[in-house]
């Protein structure tokens, strides 16, 4: 929990990692990919305040103690959601697997939610594994990488028949949150891997599932926003938005937040630190202090304490069924979503006003 000016913020870090990427974990023959990947991640950390930068050695191999201190002790986080990334072609034991995450989670009851993953190209075996993971780790969410290149296949779409089988399985197994990575990627080489139209269709066909688009489709925020504004069960995962822009590019951060608040709305935006890329502490402190820097932003929806409480934790708590202490909840009358029609520049009669 974070407390500032008498206000108490319940914090759910809905997108973070516990990876291992030191040289001893690199798959022989793929060392340049393994090294390049972790160095690329490390460069993203360069967008944070200088005093929070780590040497590459720590960045490759941060420990359980580092994580518990950075995220919970210093970082104000109440509950953190592990999002696995396998990359087993490059890292011997996987970059951060469901198993590794869950093992840490089991040592700290109540602190973590261990999400799992699936890939429709794994067919029946993958469906079995998914059921096992849900049974064993109690996963209520999955992280999906639709652009991942695999054995000659150049990625997949949520609308593929194979993927629909998995989405049906999620529904049957009690998984409710589908985190889809729509952000920086490598393969496939020739497609626009940030295309979010598949989320659009899947969200319509599976109204009982929530689709959290991580990194808000960066660098194609516009495609994501046009889609999300029409789908009630599509959310904006703010990992990278706060970490990558708030400190390094405050004016662009203000614009991106303004657009997201307008198109997606404060009830459907969730904080994720993307730890270990960025520590949560400075992100949470900075976001609670944040407001638009000038009058130039006056036609974007307003940002209130309630907005920040929702984004930092209450929205994700609702998605994951996490109990929020009474002192951190909003008063009953504070729950009105950011009203689209209030934004100057779009009259109540305009098409934008009726989009939702």
């Amino acid at each position: 929990m974070y407390e500032k000016d008498g206000e108490k913020y319940f914090v759910v870090d809905s997108h973070m990692h516990y990876w291992q990427a030191g040289p001893e974990t690199w798959v022989p023959g793929a060392e340049h990919y393994a090294k390049g990947w972790i160095e690329c991640f490390h460069a993203y950390q360069g967008l944070a305040p200088a005093e929070t930068h780590w040497p590459i050695e720590k960045f490759m191999s941060y420990t359980e103690d580092d994580l518990m201190k950075d995220v919970f002790e210093d970082g104000y986080v109440d509950v953190a959601v592990f999002q696995p990334t396998y990359l087993t072609e490059w890292y011997r034991d996987g970059f951060n697997t469901t198993e590794r995450n869950a093992a840490l989670g089991e040592k700290h009851p109540g602190k973590f939610i261990a999400n799992t993953r699936w890939d429709p190209r794994e067919g029946e075996d993958g469906l079995k594994k998914l059921a096992e993971n849900v049974e064993r780790y109690g996963s209520k969410g999955v992280k999906l990488y639709t652009a991942e290149w695999r054995e000659g296949s150049r990625g997949w779409k949520l609308t593929d028949p194979g993927a629909y089988r998995y989405l049906e399985a999620c529904r049957d197994l009690g998984i409710v949150n589908i985190h889809v990575h729509k952000g920086p990627t490598i393969w496939p080489l020739d497609k626009d891997a940030f295309d979010v139209s598949d989320v659009d269709h899947a969200a319509t066909d599976f109204p009982e599932l929530n689709f959290i688009v991580e990194h808000v489709g960066l660098p194609r925020i516009e495609d994501f926003c046009f889609m999300a504004t029409q789908e009630p069960n599509v959310y904006a995962g703010l990992s990278v938005v706060i970490g990558g822009l708030m400190h390094a590019r405050p004016r662009f951060f203000a614009k991106v937040m303004g657009e997201l608040l307008f198109w997606v709305g404060e009830d459907k935006m969730t904080f994720g630190s993307d730890y270990g890329i960025w520590e949560p502490k400075w992100q949470i402190e900075g976001f609670v202090d944040w407001d638009y820097p000038s009058d130039e932003f006056s036609d974007y929806p307003r940002v209130t304490t309630a907005t920040k409480k929702k984004i930092l934790g209450l929205n994700a708590a609702k998605l994951y069924g996490i109990e929020v202490p009474a002192e951190c909840q909003l008063p009953a009358d504070a729950g009105t979503p950011a009203a689209r029609d209030d934004s100057v520049g779009v009259s109540a009669e305009s098409p934008a006003a009726t989009l939702a």
Binding site: E39, A43, G152, P184, L189, D190, I221, E222, V256
Partner: protein, 231 residues
Amino acid sequence: MTTTVGSRTLLEALGEVRDPELDEPITTLGFVASASLSPDGDAAVHLRLPTYFCAPNFAYLMVADAYDAVSTVDGVRRTEVVLDDHFAADAINEGVAARAGFVASFQGEAVDELDSLRSDFLRKAVLAGTDLVCRPLVDSGSSPAALAAMTLGEVPPSPALDRLRGRRAELGLPAGDEAPLLVDPASGAAVGAEAVPLHLRKARLTRTSLDANTGICRGMLRHRYGVEEET
């Protein structure tokens, strides 16, 4: 950046090469690490990108475009463009040098050439440019109906307007004085008055997305190479 005699025109040529995703010259983005021209006419250019894993399709387009631009400079007899520090650098450098095309350069991993990708991003550039041109008009009180009726020739001249017209012309969209200011970037059809507010909202969002993306790329490049930014 290191330059030698004769490289001024080389840099001018490279200044016409844009990052197709960010719609900015590679020179102002800091992607040109060095450019030199020997007295014998050997042009040597090194490009660098913000990360080791920057999308190879866009990287290929920039290296290929740089090759073409440099080849047209007076006095250049041989052109070498090398992308440094990138996971697909070998395939891209060899593919461009051999004029092989993207698909042949990534055999088995790519099925389409990149023209449609380039067009998609040009359309985004048109939308973003529309915001840049229209924002001052909206601020000074132009109504949706007035904007819908306006032609390009009626807009006060500005670099932003020149740029918008250039991008529209590249896409084959109407770009002359008589052409409507607001057109659908896919079809070229004029935008009706009732659709103007949403069109402008989309234009602003597209520009915001592009600016934010550029901001991240600049930040990453600065971190990677310790360079100061050109603004």
